[in-house]
């Protein structure tokens, strides 16, 4: 049974390393899901906005880690 627990932990770890990072991604996707059908912006801008939000989440998290690591 221990290997099943170990696998379950590893599977969870596949998606979540830094909790706030994972939550931010899911929240942004949730906002996209709720917002895209209601917005009147062009389709290409919805895609660009989705990418931009995810890129900002990545940039913020990595730079925050860099600052925290060196303190």
């Amino acid at each position: 049974m221990r290997w099943i627990q170990s696998i379950a932990r590893r599977i969870f770890g596949l998606f979540v390393d830094d909790g706030s990072f994972a939550v931010a991604i899911l929240v942004w996707l949730g906002l996209a899901m709720a917002g895209v059908p209601r917005t009147a912006v062009g389709a290409q801008w919805a895609g660009a906005a989705l990418f931009a939000g995810l890129a900002v989440i990545l940039i913020e998290n990595v730079l925050r880690f860099a600052r925290r690591r060196m303190k």
């Binding site: 989705l50 990418f51 990545l58 600052r67």
Partner: protein, 260 residues
């Protein structure tokens, strides 16, 4: 289809290299028969899981066996790939910037071999029949192959569930990775220390982020310009952001050091 195959190959390659290191460490200490038996048994179990889950997944969007709308499948699969890919990309950026240590296969091999020797020493007083299966070797090899293999199965399912006909290239990519790593391990009999694991994680992370964003976007109702070609633009965009982040991270860390 080609992108799915390459993405699945790259992502699976990293997991296979990690499994090979442990299998080699166990085999070199405890002998090869039980070690390879354990790895083969785990591969058999994993093949069974793929055989059961694969056809189920292909039926969800194609034949409407469930009431789950296809855009929800795309959204969930996209979100999972995105979480997976973003995690890899984040780690690869931090490793490239020197903020966390690179994964060292030789060190991992030595650590595993030492751990197996410790277990061996503790059970040395027990009688061992040369013809019977070595439970320690079998169990250790089964365990690691099962764990890393489950991750590969997830990679295949995640890439394969995104659209019709993608499960085959995703599976072929994973099988190719397994064959390449097993072949190299068989020929070299030592850990694949020269495999640029971080570069592979960096590239696989970029591709997975692009796929995840594309599918999650489709599920959310985004109509991507240029259709599937948008994946290529997303790959380029994520690669640009990630490459720019490496020196930015170093500069940020240095700035903190100077402030202190």
């Amino acid at each position: 289809m080609g992108t799915t195959l390459v993405a699945s190959f790259l992502a699976s390659l990293v997991e296979c290299v990690e499994a090979l290191t442990v299998v080699l460490a166990v085999g070199s200490v405890r002998g090869w028969r039980s070690t390879l038996g354990g790895a083969a048994a785990a591969l058999g179990v994993l093949a069974g899981i793929v055989a059961v889950l694969g056809p189920m997944l292909t039926r969800i969007p194609l034949h409407g066996l469930t009431r789950i709308p296809f855009h929800m499948v795309q959204l969930v699969v996209g979100a999972m790939i995105l979480l997976f890919g973003m995690r890899w990309l984040r780690k690869a950026i931090l490793r490239s910037a020197g903020l966390i240590p690179l994964h060292d296969e030789v060190a991992a091999f030595a650590k595993r071999a030492a751990a197996i020797r410790e277990v061996e020493a503790s059970v040395a007083q027990l009688p061992r029949n040369a013809h019977s299966w070595d439970k320690i070797a079998f169990g250790a090899a089964f365990n690691v192959t099962m764990i890393e293999g489950t991750e590969v199965v997830f990679i295949v399912i995640a890439f394969g569930a995104g659209g019709a006909g993608l499960l085959l290239p995703a599976s072929l990519g994973a099988v190719a990775a397994l064959l390449v790593v097993a072949g190299l391990g068989f020929a070299l009999h030592r850990p694949l220390a020269r495999v640029p694991e971080n570069t592979l994680k960096f590239l696989a992370g970029v591709v997975m982020c692009a796929f995840g964003t594309f599918w999650a976007g489709e599920g959310a109702g985004v109509a991507w310009p240029d259709g599937d070609l948008a994946i290529v633009w997303l790959i380029a965009a994520y690669l640009g952001v990630a490459l720019a982040l490496v020196p930015l991270c170093r500069a940020n860390a240095n700035a903190v050091l100077v402030e202190d």
